[in-house]
């Protein structure tokens, strides 16, 4: 304000812990809800998606093998990092959506609290969602919930930060890795979130963030044979059918949600594994 020129942020993708630009070299304009220019965001291509999935797949076994305690700690640290940047994120939300400072700060607080809430589920959900099953025979039989694998996210358009956090947190907490497509119109919060993640202890490749057009990329998410699940909460409902159909080729587990905090969002991207063993000597 006092005549000093601001250094503008370049918004890039976040893949495998690094911040590459889109390999396509393309960008598109992000404007405020009043049409003012805010930034050029990367227009990610299907090849960026391809690379992100490779990174997510490579990172998945290690992330799933981390103890639940460890994953919970890391997610809590993500919350810590976000808390520390509350003003930054609140400002960004206001710029994109026109929300008041108070509303924007509320969205950031809600996002932090939601991260904390999901972090706490990591070492508790298996106790509730798993079971020992009283089978009729000399066998020990138990069911454990396991992470599904690589899950894609199509982020909702409104609530650019909260919608994003509500989608990725439940996916990550159980040991999945994810490739998330930020909201097309307001991607800045999701892209900035990469800064939070990069300063937490989340291993590279666990969370990958793309910005681009839903219409261009969603079909590629749906058809990718190495994506195991999709959260399509950010897609208009009239498009759900087509995406679900496209996902049938590898029987992707595809869901959409309305509530931000429910353990169902975690369980939707988990598999139940049941194990039998005889009891004897």
């Amino acid at each position: 304000m006092s005549g000093r020129l601001e250094v503008m942020k370049t918004y890039k993708l976040y893949i495998n812990g690094a911040f590459p630009r889109t390999e396509s070299g393309r960008s598109y304009e992000i404007t405020s809800n009043k049409g003012e220019f805010l930034a050029n965001a990367c227009l990610a291509s299907r090849k960026d998606l391809r690379d992100a999935v490779v990174a997510a797949r490579a990172a998945q076994p290690g992330w799933a093998k981390a103890t639940a305690y460890n994953r919970g700690q890391i997610m809590y640290r993500i919350a810590e990092m976000l808390e520390g940047r509350s003003d930054q994120f609140a400002q960004e939300i206001s710029l994109q959506t026109g929300a008041s400072a108070k509303e924007s700060l509320q969205e950031v607080s809600d996002s932090v609290d939601l991260l904390v809430w999901y972090a706490g589920w990591s070492d508790k959900l298996p106790s509730l969602a798993g079971s020992t099953n009283p089978v009729s025979g000399p066998f020990y039989n138990f069911t454990i919930p396991e992470a599904l694998g690589v899950v894609g996210v199509i982020t909702p358009i409104d609530k650019p930060l909260l919608g994003f956090v509500a989608a990725v947190a439940p996916i990550l907490v159980s040991g999945n890795t994810t490739v998330a497509l930020a909201s097309s119109t307001s991607p800045l919060s999701a892209i900035s979130f990469a800064e939070v993640v990069a300063t937490s202890d989340l291993p590279n490749g666990v969370l990958n963030i793309l910005s681009g057009q839903q219409s261009e990329l969603t079909p590629w998410f749906a058809s990718h044979m190495d994506i195991d699940g999709l959260d399509i909460s950010g897609l208009p409902t009239d498009q759900h059918g087509a995406i679900k159909e496209a996902g049938v080729e590898n029987l992707k587990r595809i869901s959409a949600f309305t509530k931000t905090s429910e353990p169902g969002r975690i369980l939707a991207f988990m598999e139940a594994k049941t194990i039998w063993h005889p009891i004897g000597n």
Partner: protein, 478 residues
């Protein structure tokens, strides 16, 4: 001195099969408009004529189910619903022998299996789910207690009565009503089940049985009045149904194919392992989605295990399914037999080594000798495609990591077996195997309390246990 077992046939007289059947809709028997033959695959005799369900028949069934849901079934408390299921379970136990003989005649499986496995497990499923009916609020972490409404259920021919139990019991326990289509070649025990519903006094329209073929199934999966579809069958058909259902609001669970890896480590209890291998692939003629159809042997004990396996296979008694001493019965249909023959011919062509014990196969009916292929690699068709017959593909591994890698290298993910005497190894392998059901030092064990279902292309969702139940409630997490 040879100990020949004389014929020990179970009597057919306990069963009465009508020459023709209609559909069971709204508590009554409705005549079919056209019929097809249902045969005994062991003898090719015609057992009965089964009605071919039309779109109109399906529509009538759905209307009856909807009416029953709105007017009677949803008005009942969970406790009352449960008591109907207890009645059904008890009557099935009372008529156990009848069901077992009928299942063997219609399906071709040995009477010992239908008597000792299929029928008791089916009754147990109803008994188990009866107790859930009034406890739905405890069903899970994130479940509602609201049923979907009318569910359409399509079941396969390999365990006709058991698959019916797996579908109908949880559906009814949670308050849904049912339109069920048994498989084309195995309708008889489903039709007998309709009699049990009548004997139990189940309100009209709660369970409706419409027999038929693929076209009948399509009429069900595409009917707009159905809220949820549950399908067990091939991955190919499962995907067709999933695509058809994608643009709708129907909920869908799928139980599809598999190519289960049965992994034998060098420290396994060898004799029990051989039994487990035999059970894994020859139980039910290998017509099992979770069959241990890929034997993955640690190289260090491969020769020993194979020798014992071959010797054990020579004791397998192939023949009349109604004989109480028969171990391996008939292949369910000429069509399935052709598929098995095609894939085993591919095994020969690809250079795998085929071996079967000497056995005399009857001239009439559909039969296939128990067979193993050694020298199989992941690239062979017989290592990748589901054969759904008494054919075992044998591969080897050197290290535990290699075993897991081979086991997981498939689009399927239904079952896996682990044979080892080392506890930590078992738990490690269990952790790494991408399969919904893992049998360690055992195989092909089922129980209503034990959730069953697959990862990846083996399906969506689970059946049995709390996990299976929650699929029949609206808006539930798994």
């Amino acid at each position: 001195m040879n100990f020949e077992y004389a014929a020990a046939p179970e009597s057919r007289s306990v069963v009465k099969i009508d020459p023709e059947y209609g559909h069971f809709i709204n508590g009554k028997w409705i005549n079919g408009s056209s019929h097809f033959n249902s045969i005994n695959p062991a003898t090719e005799e015609v057992l009965s004529r089964i009605a071919l369900g039309t779109a109109a028949d399906v529509d009538a069934a759905v209307k009856a189910a909807r009416n029953a849901f709105d007017k009677s079934w949803s008005k009942l408390s969970g406790r009352e619903r449960g008591k109907y299921l207890f009645r059904i379970a008890r009557i099935m136990q009372e008529r156990a022998r009848e069901f077992a003989v009928l299942e063997t005649l219609d399906n071709g499986k040995p009477i010992r299996e239908s008597r000792d496995v299929d029928v008791p497990l089916s009754a147990a499923h109803f008994f188990y789910h009866a107790g859930w009916a009034d406890k739905l609020e405890y069903a899970g972490v994130d479940t509602t207690t609201t049923p979907h409404g009318v569910v359409g259920q399509i079941i396969p021919w390999n365990f006709p009565l058991l698959m019916l139990a797996w579908k109908v019991a949880p559906a009814l326990a949670t308050g849904n009503t049912v339109v069920l289509k048994p498989a084309e070649t195995t309708s008889l025990t489903a039709l007998l089940f309709a009699q049990v519903c009548q004997q139990a006094g189940l309100p009209d329209g709660v369970v409706n049985i419409v027999t038929g073929d693929g076209s009948t199934g399509s009429a069900i999966t595409s009917h707009p009045g159905i809220d949820k579809i549950a399908f067990t069958g091939s991955t190919e058909v499962g995907k067709l149904i999933a695509r058809a259902v994608a643009p709708t609001n129907k909920s869908l669970t799928l139980e599809l194919g598999g190519k289960g890896a049965n992994i034998v480590f060098g420290d396994a209890a060898i004799d029990e392992t051989v039994e487990g291998i035999v059970n894994g692939i020859f139980f039910n003629q290998g017509h099992v989605c979770c069959a241990g159809s890929r034997l993955i042997l640690q190289e260090s004990i491969a020769d020993e295990v194979l020798e014992k396996l071959k010797r054990r296979m020579e004791k397998i008694r192939v023949g009349d399914p109604l004989d109480k001493n028969t171990d391996l019965g008939a292949i369910n249909s000429g069509e399935q037999l052709a598929k098995i023959q095609e894939l085993t011919a591919a095994g020969d062509a690809e250079g795998a080594g085929r071996w079967s014990p000497n056995c005399t196969l009857p001239d009439k009916g559909f039969w296939f000798a128990p067979t193993i292929f050694t020298g199989v690699t992941q690239a062979h068709r017989i290592a990748r495609e589901e054969i759904f017959g008494p054919v075992l593909s044998v591969l080897t591994f050197r290290t535990p990591a290699e075993a897991i890698e081979k086991a997981n290298n498939t689009p399927f993910g239904l079952s896996a077996g682990i044979w080892s005497e080392k506890g930590s190894n078992i738990l490690w392998a269990s952790q790494h195997l991408r399969a919904g059901v893992i049998w360690a030092n055992t195989f092909n064990k089922f129980d209503p309390a034990s959730p069953f279902g697959g990862y990846k292309e083996s399906g969506w969702g689970r059946e049995g246990g709390r996990h299976g139940l929650s699929a029949y409630l609206k808006g539930s997490a798994k």
